[in-house]
């Protein structure tokens, strides 16, 4: 046994902070139910309990059931507030009445922290954090704060924005939810698909910001990817009957399997078909394929995440790029275009078509998208067009497209990649114009 002398004060402190972080989302979720769905109050009560833990645990040790300990302290705090000022806000009064009897009998409240109830509360917390009444950026910030247990500083760093901006977003979001009297519930019936879709959108936005950072010096921020993947895995256990949840998890697992392979030695992006597939993480691929199988077993129409995961699975199953089933990918993109039509899906479909049915067929589809207003400033349009033109031997046109792509992205790494491709295409232009003269 390691003697307690070997455990330093800072180790204790780290251990306590870790326990609190792991318990944070469940604590807030449980308290939010008592607070009539007011997550602002829930967070304040949770914070009070955390302060108490940071005072007591270093002296008395971490309790055997830290989650229940924090919950009880937070509930007592709610009762105190209520008793001290009965004129306090209506919501405190509401919690106070609900808890008064419960906490009077000492630690009985501990036993009432039933795991299943907390699971339901956690799912409600996810739904309310991703409520469509909030702007998308606010949903993202609130979800990372409440469900991920990230500090505002950590969120700000991940999104390369000032901490005050994130803090503002979170404060406003809580105010909006409170003012709109959004119920703390798991939506059912006709509401459910739209509400679930908002949850999935938020998680995938977090994932994508990590997978392909829109700004900053790094092409990827794997921490955000891991956080989104963790949220997805948690959600899959809380809502196991939703095929799209498993679809999203499958998509993120498979995309994550390539994280190690999609950057070169100096951090530069490596495109899918150029990646060393031996570096793909087979564990994550298998987890992704298993999640996809779980989604398919539930049946129903294939939604956008199941379809995107199926496309990712086609790549994952190919040991070499030339083994890729492009015809299947093309038909999956067609199905995706039907359930969630978007010019970006069309652009991807064009790439698949060029691989399955020839460069000219792909280029024709890309050219149709040239006038699409929403793609006017989308760097991947000229990037894809440049790629097809270069393969067709039209290097000068390709160079112009890559040049344009590099001007359209604000991500440093991506800009460098496009600029590099423009130079390569430029070199080929010179070669072809040199040759006839010789």
């Amino acid at each position: 046994m390691v003697s307690s002398e070997l455990v330093t004060g800072s180790q204790t402190h780290t251990a306590i902070e870790t326990v609190i972080r792991l318990e944070s989302s469940r604590l807030i979720a449980g308290l939010a139910r008592y607070a009539g769905g007011d997550i602002g109050i829930a967070e304040e009560l949770a914070q009070d309990a955390v302060v108490a833990a940071l005072e007591q645990w270093p002296r008395e040790g971490v309790p055997a059931n830290p989650g229940a300990w924090l919950m009880t302290v937070a509930k007592r705090r709610a009762v105190d507030l209520f008793r001290r000022n009965r004129e306090l806000e209506r919501k405190y009064a509401q919690i106070g009445r609900a808890l008064d009897a419960e906490v009077d009998d000492g630690t009985a409240a501990l036993d009432r922290v039933v795991a299943d109830d907390i699971d339901d509360d956690l799912l409600r917390l996810i739904f309310i954090s991703c409520h469509p009444v909030l702007p998308v950026q606010a949903r993202v910030a609130l979800t990372l704060r409440l469900l991920g247990g990230l500090t505002t500083a950590e969120i700000a760093r991940a999104y390369v924005v000032p901490e005050a901006t994130i803090a503002q977003r979170i404060v406003r979001a809580k105010r909006t939810l409170s003012a709109a009297h959004i119920p703390f519930e798991t939506p059912g019936g006709t509401q459910r698909p739209a509400r679930l879709s908002s949850v999935l959108e938020v998680i995938y936005l977090i994932y994508n910001e990590g997978y392909s950072a829109t700004a900053g010096a790094d092409w990827m921020r794997p921490d955000l990817c891991h956080e989104a993947l963790r949220l997805g895995r948690v959600l899959a256990e809380l809502a196991p009957d939703e095929p799209e949840v498993h679809g999203l998890v499958a998509l993120m697992e498979i995309q994550s399997s390539r994280i190690g392979a999609r950057t070169g030695p100096s951090g530069e992006p490596v495109l899918l078909l150029d990646q060393d597939r031996a570096r793909w993480d087979q564990l994550l691929i298998n987890r992704g394929l298993a999640a996809l199988a779980r989604a398919e077993a539930l049946g129903g129409t294939r939604g956008p995440y199941v379809l995107q995961a199926s496309i990712a699975a086609c790549h994952a199953r190919a040991f070499r790029p030339e083994e890729t089933d492009w015809a299947r990918i093309t038909s999956l993109y067609s199905a995706l275009a039907e359930v969630s039509p978007s010019p970006i899906v069309e652009l991807n479909r064009a790439v698949a078509v060029s691989m399955a049915f020839g460069l000219a067929a792909g280029l024709a589809l890309v050219d149709q998208l040239a006038t699409e207003p929403s793609l006017r400033n989308y760097h991947l349009l000229p990037s894809v067009r440049g790629d097809l033109l270069l393969k067709l031997g039209r290097a000068a046109e390709a160079q112009a497209e890559f040049q344009r792509a590099s001007e359209l992205t604000s991500n440093t790494r991506e800009r460098e990649l496009s600029a590099q491709r423009a130079r390569t295409a430029g070199a080929q232009t010179e070669e072809s114009s040199d040759n006839p003269g010789r």
């Binding site: 792991l22 891991h226 963790r230 948690v234 570096r279 793909w280 993480d281 987890r287």
Partner: protein
């Protein structure tokens, strides 16, 4: 960050005799850790006495079969965890050991392919 946590049930670090209650509690614990998105993969390890050691030195292979001691059969277990940092891996390992009732686990960071 990934960590491999394992209890090898090496006879030199004895673990309590598993009981049906412990197995039930352990099942609940693994479900909880999976729900939290922490466990990527997990499994058991056959008794130490059945282990085989393969050595390679000076160009020669040596294969050494157990049993190595007279200790009674003890099985071990392992879990591949995905966590934010080492402190989280330590906390989950503490929770595991509390359910197991005692013993010693090793955690080591593992790197992707």
């Amino acid at each position: 960050m990934r960590f491999l946590g394992y209890t090898l049930a090496d006879p030199t670090t004895p673990i309590p005799e598993p009981t049906p209650e412990m197995f039930a509690k352990m099942g609940e614990f693994v479900a909880e850790a999976t729900k939290a998105g922490v466990v990527l993969a997990t499994g058991g390890i056959a008794p130490f006495e059945e282990a085989t050691k393969v050595r390679y030195a000076d160009g020669e292979f040596t294969v050494i079969d157990g049993p190595y001691t007279e200790a009674k059969e003890l099985v071990g277990g392992w879990a591949l965890m995905e966590v934010r940092d080492k402190a989280e891996a330590i906390e989950w390992t503490k929770r595991f050991l509390a359910v197991a009732g005692g013993g010693e686990s090793t955690i080591r960071q593992v790197y992707g392919p």
